[in-house]
């Protein structure tokens, strides 16, 4: 009896949580498959002949491949740099209990991003870095790096310190014990941190809007440009948004197990 109640609660809860985002998601895909007229008709049409015309148009009219490539380069660079710098940082915070530094990093992450925009624009213009991969990658680090650090700190904290002691006695320097013993043991966490960084960087809109230009425009900004003074190309937006979300979603679907593991495992000591 209790069991039935529990599962009823569970499925009601799961349903309530999943329906709103799924609804928006499906609406987005449908928008991409309809023509412009169908999209603005009222009441909305649910039975229609789908068209792939919008997807073709996105690539032909808007140079979408270029934007996808830009996003890919920036997200990859941001993720790689966050890992290279963030993993040792997280290790150091965990190992030497540098909680203050940890908090400062968290504050940087929690500051409303809008407050960065003006100073950054001025600085990057002065440095002549507007519309470069460097500017976008550097700014994305403010999102990805704290995520890597805060996710990994709990992983490093749950590592028994005797393992490193043993490694140091076995002939490792501190760096070698970090690289050969510690990192392989937290690879689940690293995978999670990498995936999350990539997704957050891929989806980042605000910084890219201000600091990118014709050469480095990322996909979220490109979609924004579908809204022009005179008209809003809903069908194009739907198709482009689908194209943006699709690779990340498919990817996340395949690695969901290690994401869940990574997000929960560091917290529990076995």
């Amino acid at each position: 009896m209790v069991k039935t109640f529990k599962s009823i609660f569970f499925y009601t809860g799961a349903f309530a949580l999943c329906v709103p985002p799924l609804f928006v998601f499906i609406w987005m895909i449908l928008t991409g498959l309809k023509t412009g007229i169908q999209n603005i008709s009222y009441p909305p049409e649910f039975l229609f002949t789908p068209t792939l015309e919008n997807f073709r148009a996105v690539f032909q009219q808007y140079n979408f491949f270029r934007y996808l490539l830009n996003s890919l380069i920036i997200a990859t660079l941001a993720t790689a740099i966050s890992l290279v710098l963030g993993l040792p940082a997280a290790y150091s915070i965990a190992k030497y209990r540098q909680n203050k530094i940890g908090i400062i990093i968290l504050i940087a992450r929690m500051t409303p991003f809008v407050s960065y925009l003006l100073p950054w624009y001025i600085i990057f213009r002065y440095l002549k870095l507007i519309d470069t991969y460097s500017a976008l990658t550097i700014t994305h680090l403010i999102i990805t790096m704290p995520m890597v650090i805060w996710l990994m700190v709990s992983f490093f904290e749950s590592m028994p310190s005797e393992l490193e002691d043993a490694a140091m006695i076995d002939g490792c320097s501190r760096w070698q014990s970090f690289l050969l013993i510690v990192l392989p043991l937290v690879r689940n966490g690293i995978a999670t941190a990498a995936i999350m960084s990539f997704i957050f960087s891929w989806n980042q809109f605000l910084f890219s809007l201000i600091l990118s230009g014709p050469k480095t425009k990322t996909v979220p900004v490109a979609v924004y440009n579908f809204i022009s003074y005179g008209k809003i190309d809903w069908a194009g937006i739907g198709a482009a948004a689908t194209l943006i979300v699709l690779p990340v979603s498919i990817f996340a679907f395949f690695v969901r197990k290690s994401i869940v593991q990574g997000l929960t495992m560091g917290a529990l000591k076995d």
């Binding site: 005797e162 393992l163 002691d165 043993a166 140091m168 006695i169 076995d170 070698q176 043991l185």
Partner: protein
């Protein structure tokens, strides 16, 4: 192989002194056991020898080399940890060979040494397994194996048996002793278990509150404890202590307390003289008490009238928990001919040659 010397060794964490002016000389090929209750500084001392903790002041020599500022990897030591600290992502073979690989040994030499260690420890069948697929005792063997493949100057053991169950602990105890003889190595072994210390050590070093209390061969420490702490720590069940006064009646010395009065042997007189009419702590080991036999025992002033509270029968001997006036005592005796019952009054003799007296203020041994 090498000796290990700790000279005026001090370790402070902020205002806490973990190790206080420790002076120890461990000889070449000696099995030295540092023993003491938890928090006595023994593990800190061991970690300083290993180089895992920095030294606040003092010197550590391994062989004739001052190693204070040497990295752990350069000290030529191996260490076995309490939780084994096997690398979870490597199989047993790689765990054993890791230290050699880091030191750039050739692959054939690594294989040879791993085989040799596996032979000694009987872990051939486990070489391809991961640590999580091993039982506690097997992990323990691998941890020891990882130390012996390196053929270091000094082996350090940090409570290596405390995660094993009682039976396995006894077996591994014997095995480590055997290994010590076979390797002829210098071993520094840390434990809080005085039985391990007594059974394995060539010499034991008893620590308390960061300071060395006494060192010596196990039996010497057992028979001639330097102070009350050592007396109470070594031996199981622990020594009985009673607060008493030294009383002189005519030319005879007694130690007396409520419901308790025994005559001291004459040999002790010169040493107790200065303590006349002062409180002293009287100590007697449980095995130095026996049931009074009226047939043989003429009254030599060493008989107590006591009551049995609890009787624990172990088969060949019994532990009897006694009360003597307000004092509680434990006696370890042969199984009595007539079974003891709870509440029964009986007489016990103390073996007066084996008793101990301690200064109440300084806790130092008087006799």
């Amino acid at each position: 192989m090498a000796n290990v010397i700790l000279k005026n060794l001090i370790k402070r964490y902020g205002s806490v002194t973990a190790v206080d002016n420790l002076n120890i000389e461990i000889r070449d090929r000696e099995f030295a056991v540092l023993v003491g209750p938890s928090g006595c500084g023994k593990t800190t001392a061991l970690r300083m020898i290993a180089g895992l903790e920095t030294v606040t002041s003092g010197d550590i020599y391994i062989g004739d080399t001052l190693v204070n500022d040497m990295a752990p990897k350069d000290r030529d030591i191996a260490m076995v940890f309490q939780n084994y600290a096997l690398y979870p992502h490597m199989n047993v073979r790689d765990n054993l060979g890791f230290g050699l690989k880091m030191r750039k040994f050739s692959k054939t030499e690594i294989d040879r040494r791993v085989q040799e260690a596996a032979d000694i420890l009987g872990i051939h069948d486990l070489l391809e397994r991961k640590p999580k697929e091993l039982s506690g005792g097997q992990r323990q063997r691998v941890a020891v194996g990882r130390a012996i493949v390196r053929k270091p100057k000094v082996f350090l053991f940090d409570e290596p048996l405390s995660n094993l169950d009682a039976k396995l602990r006894v077996a591994m105890r014997a095995e480590i002793s055997k290994l010590h003889r076979r390797l002829g190595a210098t071993i520094v072994y840390v434990t809080h278990d005085q039985v391990e210390a007594m059974t394995m050590a060539d010499r034991i070093f008893i620590m308390h509150n960061g300071t060395l209390q006494q060192s010596g061969m196990p039996l010497d420490v057992y028979n001639k404890p330097a102070n009350r702490f050592v007396a109470g720590f070594i031996g199981s069940p622990a020594m009985n202590f009673i607060e008493t006064r030294l009383v002189r009646e005519k030319d005879t010395w007694f130690i007396a307390s409520e419901g308790f009065k025994v005559r001291l042997p004459e040999a002790f007189y010169p040493r107790v003289e200065p303590y006349a009419d002062r409180p002293v702590i009287f100590g007697v080991r449980p095995e130095d008490m026996e049931e009074h036999d009226p047939a043989t025992g003429s009254d030599s002033g060493n008989t107590l009238t006591v009551q049995a509270e609890v009787v624990e029968t172990l088969g060949f001997e019994v532990f009897v928990y006694l009360t003597c006036g307000p004092h509680a005592l434990v006696a370890r005796m042969e199984v009595p001919k007539h079974p003891l019952t709870v509440g029964q009054t009986l007489e016990v003799d103390l073996k007066m040659a084996q008793i101990h007296l301690f200064d109440r203020e300084t806790s130092q041994t008087i006799v």
